[in-house]
Symmetry: C2
Subunit: 358 residues, 2 copies
């Protein structure tokens, strides 16, 4: 590609580097600028990724006519103002998941996207893992039969290590703890695979973390299409990433060694998908093609800026995933009683946004 | 053992044969008689297991002074009258799980046991699988650290094959479907590992079975000790038997190829227990000793009749497991709202029984 899409990184922490490496594995994207308030961090990021310039202020970055879009990895509760300002300045925006920390902020972002007409993508990358793609194929071609149960777990030890030095420690910045940081991935995966969630029954507990947020959440999802889904997520144990589907014709079990999550070009080497057919106890391994979720989602976003691709996960899908998180917290406060996603989405004013499709 | 404990099989179907084979793998038990209303079935059973006599009526069996105890594998809804009659006749009773189909029947049985003073055992054999025993050891010796999440699944395709010719088809005989037949095993396993359940939030669905009962159930368990537990059980997919614990120091993942469940002397050859330590992504396999759950539970019961052993799973433990089943169904009717086990146990009049310990 001779005329690369020129993007700028905003929020230059660990995840900005993971995504910058993903972008630079292809030849679609040029990282043309970056911004952090911290000048040392900015210079280090420029040097690490060979980025020609860095903006001293966010306004300076947004005024740069060369920059077509942003890659935002700032704390969840800063998404709304940063993204709206960027859209108003005519920039496209990719933001890491969740779209925002509250549904109200997510709706404001969705409305900003609609008004601006700019490309907008949310980093629900996990649905791009080869295992998830293969599951989708087995559902669509009928190989699984009718799915009755879908179980997912995403856990790690982060909650045991949180200190007040990180925003994830605080309930007002990261409500739901492990559920909004980890569980939200499966909230998207499961809706990608099985369609829209109708209700969520959940219990959230703060057991062993010193942070203000839950480190143990279990949620039962009722899908519009009939099946039941489950998301377990913990922040007080070694890492787990699993996704299992039970169908009338076969089961599929996916297991990713999540310690390799950051290097998505290698994720498939550290993951397994097993199938089990009706009447069989053998579980042959299903071959998975090589994928690279971070590179792929960023290139899709970059091409969408030029009108050459469509964004798979935009505001609507991201709001549906976030709504599962907040429905889990609301249900837990109601002693597990099922909370309808429509109730929360309507309360946040998102029904018109979500009702319109992407 | 020169003077074997003389037992009689009652209800001579598939499961009676599984247990008879288990009993005959050791030299503690002598199968001395058997009973089924069907004379052909009785003679075939006598022949298959070399049993000297068969009773033409249940009364004839109970009047046989040689018989010290029964092995009951009749339909769940027949447990109460058959067991109470046997206890009144001075016989000890082993019954397959669940103890009964309703908590009211279970309480009546528990009271009959208490009044009779006879040995009584319920076949919650799954806690004797080597993987469950090893998990218990890791919890007790501190190797797991503090457990936050425990997830279990027991599923098979039975619901797709049920016809009105079997009692499991009917809601009044097998309330809860897959939950009372399969999930009840994990209701016992999880309480064995983590202590008493306080509340259950659940959803039960009848999706693809023609039977009257649910073929998809998901339940979230809140333990008195703090952690959250999950039981998933389906009756409309290939077989699954898993049990996973997440602790602050390690995770344990247990997986049994359930198609070998019937031959418990081989179950360990078809099961794996994997550990994952804090900070590690490797999951070394944990060596499991050879066990034989059916033989072991029957021999324990037989020795308890002679006062030479104590029954591990009696009426109290079995009522607690059954209460999880009924709490799941009650919660599902209340849209997932958590149902306290104490509420159901009290309503069934079992609080005095359960309160007293075994």
């Amino acid at each position: 590609m001779t005329d690369k899409v020129r993007l700028a990184s905003v929020g230059l922490g660990r995840w900005a580097r993971v995504l910058a490496r993903g972008a630079q594995r292809g030849d679609v994207i040029e990282l043309a600028s970056c911004f952090s308030r911290d000048a040392d961090r900015r210079r280090a990021f420029q040097e690490e990724f060979g980025i020609p310039r860095g903006a001293a202020t966010y306004e300076e970055l947004l005024a740069d006519p060369e920059i077509e879009g942003l890659i935002v990895t700032t704390p969840n509760d800063t998404h709304r103002p940063l993204i709206l300002q960027a859209l108003e300045a005519g920039k496209a925006v990719y933001t890491d998941k969740p779209i925002a920390h509250t549904l109200e902020d997510a709706v404001a972002i969705a409305e900003g996207v609609r008004e601006s007409g700019r490309a907008f993508a949310v980093g629900h990358s996990a649905r791009r893992l080869a295992g998830a793609r293969m599951m989708k194929r087995w559902i669509e071609d009928g190989s699984l039969g009718d799915v009755s149960l879908a179980e997912a777990n995403f856990s790690n030890e982060r909650g045991l290590e949180l200190t007040p030095n990180t925003w994830r420690y605080f309930a007002d910045k990261s409500p739901g703890g492990t559920m909004i940081q980890l569980g939200v991935h499966h909230a998207d995966n499961l809706q990608y695979l099985l369609g829209t969630v109708r209700t969520v029954s959940a219990h959230a507990r703060k057991l062993y973390t010193k942070a203000e947020v839950p480190d143990a959440v279990m949620a039962i999802l009722e899908f519009e299409s009939g099946p039941l889904g489950y998301i377990g997520c913990g922040w007080a144990s070694p890492g787990i990433y699993t996704l299992n589907l039970q169908g009338t014709k076969a089961n599929l079990r996916y297991d990713l060694d999540f310690t390799h999550w950051d290097e998505s070009q290698h994720a498939d080497k550290h993951s397994q998908l097993y199938s089990q057919a009706y009447g069989e106890s053998e579980r042959p391994r299903v071959d998975l093609p090589k994928t690279d979720m971070f590179r792929e989602q960023l290139e899709e976003y970059a091409l969408a800026i030029r009108g050459e691709a469509e964004v798979e996960v935009g505001a609507v899908e991201a709001i549906r995933a976030l709504a599962v998180v907040h429905a889990s917290l609301a249900s837990s406060e109601r002693n597990g009683e099922a909370v309808a996603l429509a109730e929360l989405i309507e309360a946040a004013g998102a029904d018109t946004v979500v009702g319109q499709g992407r």
